[in-house]
Amino acid sequence: MVLKLVPDYVIPSPVTVITSGYDLVITGRLFLDTTDTLFKVISGLIIASIVAIPCGLLMGWSKKLEEMTKIVVGVLRPIPPLAWIPFSILWFGIGTVPAIFIIFMGCVFPILIYTIDGVKRTDKVLVEAGETLGANSYQTLTKVIFPSSIPTIVSGLKVAVGIALMCTVSAEMIASDKGLGHLILNASQLFDTGATVIGMLAIGVIGLIFDYIFNKAQNRIFW
């Protein structure tokens, strides 16, 4: 480099980044860590959705149930997901499962809140139309309220992806031996700032891809 104002371990030069990136690709580490992080993010999102969407549908629909769960949700929701790290290590040790647990804790509430909101935004006339066409309570929930809430639920998933990535990387820095968070931390401890940048870029790209997928999904939903 002609202009070497700052050393590589403070701000890596493009050449350093490319070299580190090349090494990470050749050794297969980037691929392994990326797939590991992706696996955790997707698992956490799926489990959180499986829990949060049905709960949100019921809570948005039944005032009684919402009142009953209000305090529990109200107290649990503001707790930053990373505050669960000590318990996640105690309960699940080190590795994939505690990270998934942290992601779950981070994603379940935004998905829940968005789902409840989606239910409440359901046009009343659609519910009544369903009822006059013979829908019972269960059918009203599954065939009218759920589909009409999907656009709002997808918005919730978009928010959740961002949180999931944040949670994984942080969890991986503390309670993991794999994943992009571990890669970043490990590299920075070795003053390999090039690899750190590659790790950060990989997270950015994952976020971008998720956003693209959800935007595509939302564009297909045109109502």
Binding site: T132, G134, K143
Partner: protein, 247 residues
């Protein structure tokens, strides 16, 4: 007798004062009849229709369908709303088949039945379209078909054509009469439009407001097909307006 209403009362409680929406309504509607409920805004005509549909509770009195009390919505009483009420995530055909699918009807038969009904209102080419791709008139046609395909005995219609332009409104009114003649269902049609009621109904229930009550049940003796330009038509319209204005 299809529907019988006896001493029906309904009050809406607001935080300021109680609003009497319906005051001692007595009414009988015969099977296969096309009845219009006509009155100014705030006379409780929509509330009355919603109670018949089971979408609204009443405070006192009786409301019976074939001798059985109406307490909740049923597929036997189809409802066409003033607002567009098609399910936006389903295409036209799936919207029409919604009720049949809920009832667990056989799929091929449902499709055949739905397509027949769509054809009857000239929408056979629109079955794959989604509601946002339809005009207002098409949406309401689909909404009517969606109820009729469901083997409803009574079709309740709450100002379904009020958002349409005049030409479309007239066209749909003619279509409704055609459907009514062919399908032989009871139709109760709420409107604030004297012309619409005169054109459609056998009997017109004239309502007044403060509180909502029935002023008179008017027998519309005009022969069908009705012509808006005819003197008799204008004559009947004037009579109705006089009653509504208490002259």
């Amino acid at each position: 007798m299809s529907i019988k209403i006896k001493n029906l009362n309904k009050t809406f409680k607001t935080h300021e004062k109680d609003l009497i929406a319906l005051d001692n309504i007595n009414l009988e509607i015969n099977t296969g009849e096309l009845v219009c409920i006509l009155g100014p805004s705030g006379c409780g005509k929509t509330t009355l229709l919603r109670i018949i549909g089971g979408l609204e509770e009443h405070d006192s009195g009786e409301i019976l369908e074939e001798g059985v009390a109406i307490t909740k919505p049923s597929r036997e009483r189809g409802f066409v709303f003033q607002q567009y009420s098609l399910f936006p995530w389903l295409n036209v055909l799936d919207n029409v088949m919604f009720g049949l699918n809920l009832a667990g009807s056989q799929k091929e038969e449902s499709i055949k039945r739905a397509k027949n009904y769509l054809k009857a209102v000239g929408l056979e080419d629109a079955e794959k379209l989604y509601p946002h791709e339809l005009s207002g008139g098409m949406k309401q046609r689909v909404a009517i078909i969606r109820s009729l395909v469901n083997k409803t005995k009574t079709l309740l219609m709450d100002e379904p054509f009020s958002a349409l332009d005049m030409q479309n409104r007239h066209k749909l009114q003619e279509e409704l009469i055609r459907i009514w003649k062919k399908a032989g269902r009871t139709i109760i049609f709420v409107t604030h439009d004297v012309d619409e009621a005169t054109f459609l109904a056998d009997r017109i229930i004239l309502m007044g407001k403060n509180p909502g009550h029935i002023k008179q049940v008017f027998d519309n003796t005009l022969t069908r097909p009705r012509k808006r330009e005819s003197e008799d038509f204008l004559d009947i319209q004037n009579k109705i307006i006089d009653i509504l204005d208490n002259k």
